[in-house]
Amino acid sequence: MSGLHVSALSHAFDAQEVVKGVSVFVGPGEFVCLLGPSGCGKTTLLRVAAGLENLQKGEVHIGEQLVASGKSGFNLPPEKRGVGLMFQDYALFPHLTVAQNILFGVKVKSQQQSWMEKALSQMDLTAYAHVYPHTLSGGQQQRVALLRAIAPQPGVLFLDEPFSGLDVTRRAETREQTLALLKETGVATLMVTHDPEEAMYMADRILVMDQGRMIQDGTPDDIYFRPNSAFVTDLFGAVNRLNGRVSQGTVKTPLGLFEAPQLPDGQAVQVLIRPDGIRLAELGGTPARYAGDAPCEPASQPGTGFQVVSARSLGRASRIIIRLADCEPPDGLIEIRVPGTFLPKTGSLVCATVNPGDAHIFKTE
């Protein structure tokens, strides 16, 4: 059982600084996701931690051992670090069979033989042990690459966008198998991904990165429900954005008053509300209540509902667009997603309520 500790790592290519003082900690047995858009420096961080790039600034520890230090210029070569890395393109050796690939990094092959047989059967690969990788499907190659990376029992496992090469239908199944295997192995894992849903699904903890900096470090729940910035809120898809100004600790928007006790008077802010954070009811009716909702006051004054622009069923949910009267999102349109079927007529009036916990208020930059 070891773990990974990256502290204050900075990295530049030529003059371009791609990682700016980022620290990452992955505890023994923990699964941590590094989430961010492409080009945010997450893959670079992973390559430096694995030793494939020489470290420039900062320090990397694996377990208790210092493996790279910017101060002394010390860089333990990757083969001495005891890490596993699974590449986005899998990088299976085409001249070796599946079994040879998996045992490539194992020093005493006989010791891992029985483990491999068990793992192969767990991954539905027993029949393919002696074929060459190019005859396998993408999902099978992915699983072989994973087994190869963990076969030498690394102290830390790095996964670089491990599911991006798979089609959507295969992804869920492969994620499931991967997660099960890793939990069983108990290896500290750092996965890089740009897919927030994947991160939510896999991770014990998510680190959000943007433009070389760490933005937020928290549980999947924290990241989704308590984002610390507009950037993090935005990660999970389109968000309704209302502009306003703080006045006596509150922000007034067409969708209601929101408390912003920490912000000074006159501060320009944006209020971000996800489509599923808004409740709707026919004008005059009572908005549906859900467990945990604060008691709701219709935001619209009686008799002044919002006009429905469109309403469509998505099956288990309905997507409704309403227009704010004289309002701010460029064309005053707000997207709402409510569970079940709720399809008011186009042009009819509805009233809307926002659960205060679903309104994320940030200073306008």
């Binding site: 494939l52 990757p78 890490v83 890395l85 001249h95 990094g105 005859t135 396998l136």
Partner: protein, 567 residues
Amino acid sequence: MDRPFWARPGPRSFLRVDFWTLGVLIIALLIAIPLFAVLTLALSPSDDIWQHLLDTVLAKYVWTTLSLMLGVGIGTTVIGTATAWLVTMCRFPGRGLFNWALLLPLAVPAYVLAFVVTDQLEYAGTVQTTLRMLFNWESRQDYWFPEIRSLPGAITVMTLVLYPYVYLLARAAFMEQSICVLDVSRTLGNGPWKSFFKVALPLARPAIVIGVTLALMEALNDLGTVEFFAVNTFTSGIYDVWLNMNSRSGAAQLASVLLIFVLTLIALERAARRGQRYHHTSGKYSALPSYRLHGMKALVAFLACAVPLGFGFLLPAGVLLSYSLNFYQETLAANYFQYVANSLTLSSIAAIGSVLIGLFMAYGVRLNGSAIVRMATRFASIGYAVPGAVLAIGIIIPLGAFDNAVDAFLQRTLGISSGLFISGTIVAVIYGYTARFLALSYGTLEASLGKITPSMDGAARTLGQGPGATLRRVHLPLVRGSLLTAGLLVFVDCMKELPLTLILRPFNYDTLSTFVFQYASNEQLEHSALGALTIVAAGIIPVVLLSWGIIQSRPGQDRNGRVEVNK
């Protein structure tokens, strides 16, 4: 980030880059010595013939050399690209044969074709004799016939034997292209011709540029043809100044100008390739389409392939074969087997050496792409561009100095004389061959290693393998075919090599090429025909292997060219 090794912090990283970096630097230095020797001699003021050269021949050399390069460049590009496209994309009678046979002229050295063509086309040759007989012409006054021993003649001869460089690379590029890309072009409304010019050709351009550059370097290197045709290129100039005016520094001065030519050519090629490394965006391959050609179109396609093959290979091979059958006893009597043994020895040692060194360099660059290593390998690769005559002069000078120094040292300390123990031995020839053909093996192996994605290295390294073990367990098995290809390419070029061998060989030590050159220059082509035929025959073996390898290398096709079914 790329920092030179001395600027990297800490002792540890220094040790790590040391072995491979140092090795690459030493190789580069060994290749550099002859070049610096030439430049030093060129700049030494001993007998300054710069002014004399400028007044007399320099302009002529420049003009002739440029004309030759332009002619051969255009000729090889057109023939090489057109034939490559025809055999990869079209179906017409003879295509299966042309597919590999078009490489055959690669086996014929330019000077051999020059001798044969002259032999056939001169006044007493078969062609003119036949014409005179047919039309009852009495003498040269009665008709006009083009002079083959001229600049256009040299361009034609060289184009015919050098176009396979372009053909080989263009064909490989066309075959590697994902057919999906071509299909997309067709669905976007481009016909076959337009698809060729707008998609296939631009994608293949980097490969074609390399092919043409190789052909032009060969053209600049050629001594046999231009000497025999009395065409005043720089190479023949160097030879003449050195032998006839007996001026080493004069030859070195001309050589240094030629070096500038060559460096310009390399710079142009690099510039043309900059930012042109396309990566195939689609991994889907299916059988190449076949535009089936009929009637006139099929005939034109057939002739477009048959003419270069006929004149570049069938004609010289046929003539040499018929002479060999009639005059083989004369050749055998001239100590033929000794020449064969000499050629084989020199060529195999040089081929093995070049492959080992080339692999070392290519992997060194892959491990450590720092500016200094890349510069060193680039430098070590220019030997190929340096004409053999120049390289030979550059080798003789420092080796002679080295031998003299050792001799003096031994005289002083032990009182014995070592004489010349490197210069004037086959070591000097092998040094020359390796310095000149290293780029060939390096380039082949670099390209082959380049096809292995960097994540393969990363995977092996994170799985506990050091750089050496990674090379042995991952890269070597994957580039095995290329090692053979690289070795054979060097081997054949050594068999054909003339100027270096002529100058560096030990006294009274003849190879097949020097034997053929000397006999044929003295109008005794018949008596050396078996020797020439042997060179050509040796050249055919790698041509066949190359051809076989290229068909296999296309993803999605099995050994017999059948398409693999996607699983």
